[in-house]
Amino acid sequence: MVSTYCNRFYSSKPELAARRIEAIGYQVGHQLSERYTMERPRFSDHLEAIKFICKDFWSELFKKQIDNLKTNHRGTFVLQDNRFRWLTRMSVEPTSGNTDASQADSSTSAADNKALPATSMHLYFPCGIIRGALTNLGIPCAVSADMSNLPACSFVIRIKA
């Protein structure tokens, strides 16, 4: 799905593709949060809702819980997943379609540069899911993702006042 949006629909405008993928994730998160919170009592504060995302919601989606949750107690939460399922199969090799000799000669840093945007595209969808779920629970927020060492990645949630 991600590659279709990036390469076929919006190949010239990656930021538009990212917004579109994020919006799809938002809708999915919005609907899933309604379903997964059916059996539980209402959340009394933000932390409880975030904990729900880390534990139950994440294990429903990825069969594992978030590994680390950090907060500054002022509306910013960092959710760290040490082995994010969608990134475990992600290769850091250069893309196979690129057979140019000069490209093949280039160092691994150039290869990383090629793979990174493609990988970061795959994180817009889970970002959208988290944002959609939290918004539906009454917590408007902004979510961004960070992947410094694959396959670990972290999601930064900033709650809007």
Binding site: Q27, H30, Q31, S33, E34, R35, T37, M38, R40, P41, R42, F43, S44, N136, L137, G138
Partner: protein, 143 residues
């Protein structure tokens, strides 16, 4: 029997409102639902109960009037379910069961990718399931 059911969104916008009477008292029923919304707000902002009942989705009897009783249910996503019944002796367990089924019907309805969040529920299946649940409730009470 259940004479009216309603689903109200988190900004108190009506998502689904259906009455099951032949007489033209729909306006009166809608008025009761409207009043119940205020009671829900009151309950949520000033919780009196403690322990396990705190923050529970089921809110219980909201608005008893001479002929009707209104029951409420509030989900995690601040969506309210309300129904108005003419039965005077209703079992709590039956009401909980009803809301549970109602809630799952709602979840299935909003999971439809063509449903726009915050807009009225137009799903035929949802209407049928609601109607069936109300009918089931009626036969349970009749026993």
């Amino acid at each position: 029997m259940i004479v009216c059911v309603a689903v109200v969104g988190h900004q108190n916008n009506p998502l689904y409102l259906q009455s099951f009477t032949n007489a033209d008292d729909a306006l009166k029923l809608h008025h009761i639902v409207h009043c119940s919304l205020d009671v829900i707000d009151d309950r949520v902002n000033n919780p009196k109960k403690t322990g396990s009942t705190l923050n529970e989705a089921f809110l219980g009897l909201l608005y008893p009037s001479e002929n009707y009783k209104a029951y409420g249910y509030l989900t995690n996503t601040k969506v309210k379910f309300i129904f108005v019944t003419t039965d005077l002796d209703v079992k709590d367990a039956d009401v909980r069961n009803f809301f549970k089924r109602f809630h799952s019907a709602y979840v299935d309805a909003v999971s439809n990718p063509f449903h726009v969040p915050g807009k009225k529920i137009t799903s035929k299946t949802f209407a049928e399931r609601t109607w069936f649940d109300c009918w089931l409730q009626l036969s349970l009470v009749g026993q």
